[in-house]
Symmetry: C2
Subunit: 230 residues, 2 copies
Amino acid sequence: MTIPSATISRLVTYLRILEQLETEEVARTNSHDLAERAQVNAFQVRKDLAYFGRFGTRGMGYTVPVLKRELMRVLGLTQRWRVIIVGMGRLGQAIANYPVGSDYQFEYVGLFDVNPALIGQRHQGLTIQPMDELHEFMKTHQVDMGFLAVPPEKAQAAAQALAEAGVRGILNFAPTVLQPRLIATENGDEISEEWHNVTIENVDFLAGMKRLAFYLLNPNQKNDQPEDNT
Amino acid sequence: MTIPSATISRLVTYLRILEQLETEEVARTNSHDLAERAQVNAFQVRKDLAYFGRFGTRGMGYTVPVLKRELMRVLGLTQRWRVIIVGMGRLGQAIANYPVGSDYQFEYVGLFDVNPALIGQRHQGLTIQPMDELHEFMKTHQVDMGFLAVPPEKAQAAAQALAEAGVRGILNFAPTVLQPRLIATENGDEISEEWHNVTIENVDFLAGMKRLAFYLLNPNQKNDQPEDNT
DNA sequence: GACTGTGAATCGATTCACAGCG
DNA sequence: CGCTGTGAATCGATTCACAGTC
């Protein structure tokens, strides 16, 4: 069965709400309460959860720690994710230093850049390495995802370098659509092969501000959609 | 007529592609070319554009500068948007210093924070001001949108402060769902009034990394959706 | 009695097929 | 002939209504 991507975005929201409720030592909740906090409706909450199992008790609602654990499992947040950041300019630095809070399941294991002025700088106990060393690095380290924080004109090449080095997931901060194919091979032949198994998720602040401009200009177009993405 | 929010996200993408084509001095394009670059299909491109007018020539395609100008107009990027940033920690600083490139239609006019250690610091020719001064500031300056880059637990209060000060659009970087109502009034009564006319757009990097974790764990769930947002 | 879980119904967005036009 | 623009068809997601059960 194929799950709407909007559902995945909402699950992240529900999980946050549950974490919040847990710190407030609230023991139970229900679809209406979750719906209100997540700004969706209760049918949606129940349908979203139903894709993955039965987590509640009829007549009772949901037990906060139980549902929280289940959502963490569903979203893959019970395992550790090893992350490298490619592009350690101001944006990459802000990402590296962002307080991830309860999100200790994500661990930065490497920082890369091409700029000699940045190489050797340390952030969060890691030293920025030259991009050339990525291949070598991948031989000795497990890397689950790469955060791409390079300027837009370098994003496509950097994404390909990540893919070729064996990184399977890319969180793309650059304001570009990454093309899922190789443009050329090393020897210059134009083989144009598909990327295999690279999952891309976009986080795009410039797009967000432009969408906001549109909605301010067109107040009748009410805006609902999930995440900031592409 | 109500326009899908996914269409707005895609228009931003098309505009970027057109800007790119313009720098490459490509004079014309067509729906198939745009579709390939935007990773959507040609029907989608034409339908998206059709919501706003007829910008092409049958048999010919689109003239790059013409379509670019039309999309800028549609998205509200022919006018200037005056922006304040609320929350000038590392994330706010990265945003303030991000090279917006061709996006000179967005202008930062004020920077705010509650942290005395940050107040007085300068970025991009602006001095960080205390949050208290927002109301006063709004009396003498036009502000079209606020970028909210405060820690999640402070986001709701800060958003309300922005709304009460008269800011009509918020780009929310905090990993929280902003509740569109006022929780209390100044005198302590609980009036719980609706926000009026505040448009919110989310940019959520932590959500992006969690969605990516899900898709890496479930490779059969192919991911298409637009923008990063909540 | 209250609230979940879910098939059926509705609604909306994407895709299609083709008419229209340079 | 090529490519846009668009009504109709399809597909998918959200909403609904209610059966199930604690």
